[in-house]
């Protein structure tokens, strides 16, 4: 094909793709899509999947120390859900032509990222409450919005994830409420966890809209439906009241209701810290990555054995038939 013809075909493709997006039709794996759309999705969905999987670690730090059988059960079920959600998301990304092995390799090489929030340590039991209430609470705001994302498999994964995650935030809030109604030590732990997780939770929504404009491809292609600041405001608005009910103080002296905007105003976010953690200097970046690499390497012989066994059995079956 001549170059000119190729360009014409390309622009036809783009046109029919954008028409589909315009009609709010979901894009499916076999549909033609621009390379940039595919790349954007692979990056976003794999980052999302890695976040779920790496997110198992800070909570995993408290499984063996959960203070009651009920607490242990809930925590295990929740972490198991995170693993499942990682799995749904890896599967969604795989429909775009990348394998789970490749995604894991990109995670290990640093090419793929995961959510910054999991580079913070879970230090006391109230941190398990704060992670469920604030971190999952922030994640769910984002995920509810992503249920309407334009790529079918991603959207379907988000619908399932949102349904399952509805208990995550409640269990976290329940832990915080119990501790705030408990002994002085417990209240101190709860407030301490609140103080450490509040700002990182706000950072989960990413840079301000002024830094990350709405006009990008992610919006044009309806991968993203609401801006970082819109989602962050949604989260703050619903969380402030919940904190008040159980007597927790939000560690932001500038936080106040803005009648005109219909939202809370909040103090400045420390973006230096944000970029510092993204660039690998958070308290747990190395620990989380080392853990994932170690587990991946330690499991290799098991995965190889499973494949070898299957191959042997297939060969035996073939020989018995012939």
């Amino acid at each position: 094909m001549e170059l000119k013809e190729q360009t014409a075909v390309q622009s036809d493709l783009l046109k029919s793709f954008e028409e589909k997006i315009g009609r709010d039709d979901a894009i499916e794996p076999k549909d033609k899509m621009p390379d940039a759309y595919r790349k954007h999705l692979i990056r976003q969905i794999s980052q999302h999947a890695h976040s779920e999987v790496i997110g198992m670690q800070p909570e995993g730090n408290w499984i063996t120390r959960a203070p009651s059988l009920r607490a242990k059960q809930i925590l295990l079920a929740k972490i198991q859900d995170e693993g499942g959600h990682g799995l749904y998301l890896y599967s969604a990304a795989e429909t775009l032509g990348i394998s789970r092995s490749e995604m894991i390799e990109q995670l290990h090489s640093g090419k793929a990222k995961y959510s910054n929030i999991f580079n913070y340590p879970a230090l006391n039991w109230a941190d398990i409450g704060a992670i469920g209430w604030l971190v999952d609470g922030a994640a769910i705001v984002n995920q509810v919005s992503l249920q309407r994302t334009s790529y079918g498999p991603y959207s379907r994964a988000m619908v399932r994830i949102c349904k399952e995650e509805s208990f995550h935030q409640r269990q976290g809030y329940e832990i915080m409420a119990k501790m705030m109604a408990g002994t002085a030590d417990q209240r101190e732990m709860a407030q301490d966890a609140m103080n450490r997780w509040w700002w990182p939770a706000l950072m989960m929504f990413g840079p301000h809209d002024s830094e990350s404009p709405r006009s990008g491809d992610a919006f044009k292609w309806k991968i993203k439906r609401q801006s970082n600041d819109e989602l962050r405001a949604k989260f703050i608005d619903k969380t402030v009241q919940q904190a008040e009910v159980i007597g927790l103080t939000i560690p932001d002296k500038d936080l106040k209701w803005n009648e005109a905007r219909g939202h809370y105003d909040h103090g400045p976010i420390d973006w230096n810290e944000f970029y510092n953690v993204i660039n690998g200097n958070g308290p747990c970046n190395k620990q989380r990555m080392d853990h994932h690499k170690r587990v991946h390497a330690e499991g290799a012989w098991v995965r190889e054995a499973a494949e070898a066994y299957r191959a042997k059995k297939e060969k035996q079956l073939f020989q018995s038939k012939n």
């Binding site: 198992m56 995993g60 499984i63 587990v295």
Partner: protein, 252 residues
């Protein structure tokens, strides 16, 4: 030891096996060889916690001093735990865990089948529910022992080591003492000693199919059922009971 004391210790033994095994299984969470297996092992840990709640809760009722399942799990000392040693051994690697799961699940399959017919309605009901879970655990462990035993040279060697190392701990499952005798006559509980042949036949067949050698060692590690443990249990309890110990007045 009167009837009530025997019954209390009996329920603690069953409950502690589930509780300590759940601890070891839960350690696999975010450490499994593939994400799908992470979910599977976590499910088993959850099954075990559920079983521990039922059995320790019942033990508390029998004791009649108002102790709950949590009191018994979190505020009891090492010498009052009666789980078999096999449940408290470290996971080591995936092959060890699967060998342990095979030995325990095969035993429990026979044991809980008997207990489901017990005259004690509560234990019979718990056993009937638990038996469904055990069948699945046994099937899962069996499949993995076959895959690892008959997989690669490396997995075969690791599986054989695990099978050999844990074998001397399996005999404790078949010990039968005064507590068992009391329960056999009072509620028609199964006699563990009588299950050894069935277990041996079942497990040997799986090991052979997995191209593994069936161990012949006769040595037996014992003590857990009477509160004499390996050094591992102290560490498990120190970690598991940390919060209730550090903050005795707190509710969680």
């Amino acid at each position: 030891m009167n009837q009530q004391e025997a019954m209390f210790k009996y329920c603690l033994r069953l409950g502690d096996n589930a509780l300590i095994r759940s601890y070891r299984l839960s350690e696999w969470c975010s450490n499994a060889p593939i994400l799908e297996e992470d979910l599977a092992l976590t499910n088993f840990a959850l099954d075990m916690i559920g079983r521990a709640q039922a059995l320790l809760g019942y033990a508390g009722q029998i004791e009649g001093k108002g102790r709950t399942d949590d009191d018994l799990a979190y505020r009891r000392g090492e010498r009052s735990f009666y789980n078999v040693l096999l449940t408290e051994l470290p996971n080591q690697d995936f092959a060890y865990t699967m060998a342990r799961e095979l030995y325990l699940s095969a035993f429990e399959y026979f044991y809980y089948s008997g207990l489901a017919g017990s005259k004690d309605a509560t234990l019979a009901a718990i056993a009937a529910k638990t038996l469904k879970e055990i069948k699945y655990h046994l099937s899962h462990a069996t499949d993995w022992v076959l895959r690892l035993g008959d997989g690669t040279a490396e997995s075969h060697a690791k599986m054989q080591t695990a099978v050999d190392d844990l074998w001397p701990y399996a005999s404790e499952l078949f010990e039968s003492d005064a507590v068992d005798a009391a329960m056999i006559s009072a509620i028609g509980a199964p006699d563990p000693a009588a299950l050894k042949d069935s277990w041996m036949k079942h497990v040997s067949a799986i090991l052979k199919e997995a191209t593994l050698d069936v161990p012949t060692t006769m040595y037996t590690h014992t003590g857990g059922r009477n509160g004499i443990h390996s050094e591992n249990l102290g560490h498990i309890l120190a970690e598991m009971q940390f919060l209730p110990h550090a903050y005795p007045d707190a509710k969680w």
